[in-house]
Symmetry: C2
Subunit: 459 residues, 2 copies
């Protein structure tokens, strides 16, 4: 076909695929029904100029352009629902610059998040963001979705660590915005606008990342509490006491029960207490003295209400267990449907309770976990992937959940972005004039509407 031939001319035919409907390039990690692409071609450029050449050709020929990172998204942001060309950034995998003494690294978009973290660590530094799926997810996609992770509580989301970026803007120009300077108030922040824009304003090709000296120590605690009310109060108490843990994640009763079997033995070999109805995964970091002082402060804080507190000397095992929650929960009934929402911390209890009621009303089993200190909830229902009735019910649960969240003045997206699945919700979450500006920004960057069409739609 024409697209294939034209792209082959630009990239070489071995770097242009025609994906089958079942190809991974037509899916993401959500496995959701509506998330199926119909890409006409997958382009695998090797460089920013090659990305620009593909964008320029597509823009001239009115062909949709869908940038794609590691495919770990959960909202359909990386699939070509309306056809067109998927631009996979996986071959842009060079680290162009690494300056440990200046705390900075310049990876191309296709470098995996884990690789970025590893290089930083090998140089005594830390790349703080730690979204799930780091082995597969790519730094460009992380920036395009402004990915979070547990440590965002203390260190902020991915965007907080982006000093500058190289991107291809329509109709096919490579731009370098931001640079390495540590401060800049000249002009509108185009870099910040591209961060989290999910490929709808441009294609990110390389990212200038700020790093931090690695903290000397991180200490992990599991805090088991009798119930949700008590757990949410414990989170509020952490703030009220002025404590600043690096992680303050939570698991509700169902999640805890499902994950209890794989829970790693802490120092004294304890298991998850049978009476626990809520748990917090807390980490403190810094110098050893500082981390220990914080741990002592938190232990005192939790002493009154906790059923048990486990100190995990092998934090690695605890984190592997935490990362395993997703597959464990999925395995129960074969699939799950999650809405990754945010509530004000003071609204967390109300939101969790409301979500449980919603799921039960629709006859589905709910569970929730997430980043409690940020009110970021992975609100999940367990489903049988073959049961269309349950899948329909799950969609209704998500609709009701998003309605609840907007009523509570939260956000429908705490991670992954709007994508395909949350299109239209901004119009309910935002004031009308802000929605209008959202659409004008899109038209300013993409007058032909070809950059990741159908994604991040405000209404």
């Amino acid at each position: 076909m024409a697209i294939h031939a034209e792209l082959s001319r630009l990239l070489g035919s071995e770097h242009v695929h025609e994906p089958s409907p079942g190809s991974p390039y037509n899916r993401d990690a959500s496995g959701r029904r509506g998330v199926v692409g119909e890409a006409d071609a997958v382009a695998l450029p090797r460089s920013a100029p090659e990305v620009a050449a593909v964008v320029a050709w597509c823009y001239e020929h009115d062909v949709p352009i869908v940038p794609r990172g590691g495919g770990t998204g959960l909202v359909g942001g990386a699939v070509a629902r309306d056809g067109g060309v998927v631009i996979s950034l996986e071959r842009l995998h060079a680290v162009r610059e690494l300056e440990p003494a200046l705390w900075r690294m310049f990876p191309e978009a296709g470098v995996t998040t884990r690789h970025v973290q590893r290089i930083a660590r090998e140089n005594g530094l830390m790349f703080a963001p730690d979204p799930g799926g780091a082995e597969q997810s790519q730094i460009g996609g992380n920036v395009a979705t402004n990915a979070g992770g547990p440590h965002a509580l203390k260190y902020g989301v991915t965007g907080a660590w982006v000093s500058g970026m190289e991107a291809v803007l329509a109709p096919g120009e490579v731009v370098d915005v931001g640079g390495w300077i540590r401060k800049d108030v000249a002009g509108y922040d185009i870099k910040d606008l591209l961060i989290g824009s999910e490929g709808t304003l441009g294609v990110i090709t390389a990212v200038r990342l700020r790093l931090l000296p690695a903290p000397e120590t991180a200490l992990a605690l599991m805090v088991f509490l009798p119930d949700r009310a008590c757990g949410c109060e414990a989170i509020a108490n952490v703030f009220a006491a002025g404590a600043q843990p690096s992680v303050l994640d939570f698991l509700d009763a169902t999640t805890l029960a499902l994950a209890a079997r794989s829970y790693p033995a802490a120092g004294d070999g304890e298991a998850v207490p049978a009476t626990a109805g809520f748990a917090l995964l807390v980490e403190v970091d810094g110098s050893r003295a500082q981390a220990e002082a914080q741990r002592a402060e938190l232990l005192e804080l939790f002493a009154a209400d906790a059923i048990a507190v486990h100190e995990h000397r092998d934090a690695g095992a605890l984190w592997r267990w935490r990362d395993g929650i997703n597959p464990v929960v999925t395995a129960v009934r074969g699939a799950k449907v999650s809405g990754d929402v945010v509530l004000g911390v003071e609204r967390l209890h109300e939101g969790l309770e409301g979500f449980e009621e919603i799921a039960q009303r629709h006859g589905l089993k709910p569970c929730a976990w997430g980043h409690g200190g940020e009110g970021n909830v992975h609100a999940t229902v367990l489903v049988d992937p073959e049961d269309e009735h349950e899948l329909d019910a799950a969609e209704r649960v998500m609709d009701d959940l998003f309605t609840l969240v907007t009523e509570l003045r939260g956000s429908v997206a705490g991670e992954h972005g709007v994508g395909l699945l949350k299109g239209g919700w901004l119009a309910r979450q935002w004031d009308a004039q802000a929605v209008e500006m959202h659409e004008r920004i899109k038209r300013a960057f993409d007058p032909k509407g070809l950059l990741n069409p159908g994604k991040t739609l405000a209404r």
Copy 2:
């Protein structure tokens, strides 16, 4: 006149002024020749709806709108050069919400920065940004210019602490963007776009600020070094050693000589050493143990090259001295002209040297100080305000400085923004397509070009 009558109808006649050419509302703190407004009226609304009413009337009648905070800017951003209505936010001075246990405060735009800092401190919290002129500057203006200050090194600039904001967008709508949630990746970041947009995209009326628990201790050091090369190397060494001071400011030889007389006696009553050719003002903070550990680390780091290191037990006195540099330098010849630029930290020495050569070439006396850890330089020449020849030369110095900075891939604005005085420099600092997007964003938010016209122009 018509404008006055119309605005009086909206706000009451006592809240609408007709300013004289010499009125403070037609000036800013720069005192620069080109920075003179010709406002037709100054409007003093009391609330966001009143701001919206003024904006709506102006927008309908094609009258320029110039939002104004405390008037401490240095680039002419707050003056109505093309006439129209100055909207002074000073009567929006309520703190709408204060939740110490949730680390947050919701001041209106006209609350002074010092008041925000004071309320935070009285509640055991800290509002980290500390731009100069805090008694007079207002939080709305700070957000509109994304103000910095010494502590931005560790804590980031003002924008990093803005969770959400209320603003009036054209053609006169109040919007509330961002809210209180601690994480949000739904849609383009309109809040971030308004931060630092200098009133050219909308009028900020209230700001949701995140606070932090106040650090237990802050310890201040003055480090005296023989010369600029040695001083810039010391700054680089701080990063290379992985130290994380909260402040890493610098003073060059001339600044140091001018400010030496008012230097506060440190612990042992020492004065500025006669042989010092560069100085660093360093602060570390945290728990007492943590601050002391950091101080020890830095003392060791500076030991090899420093002529002297003074530990200031009364950090307040040291900071008052530091804040006094501006008036001290101004007093030498009656005026000064400053360009507030940013260089990569690794380019700092080259930039400072280049600036000195430029000033000397134009026959003016240069001095420089600023936030060394961020490469943010207050590059200054001393002038006689009555000497037109010197004032012309100073303009040429600034032009050459900005040229140098763009060649070194720095930024022409590290604080205060582009305003009137740096208009057009973005086109030399940025790639062409980014400049194009800058202008499209402006048109998207302000199709009639009435919001602070002539400011933040990219070319």
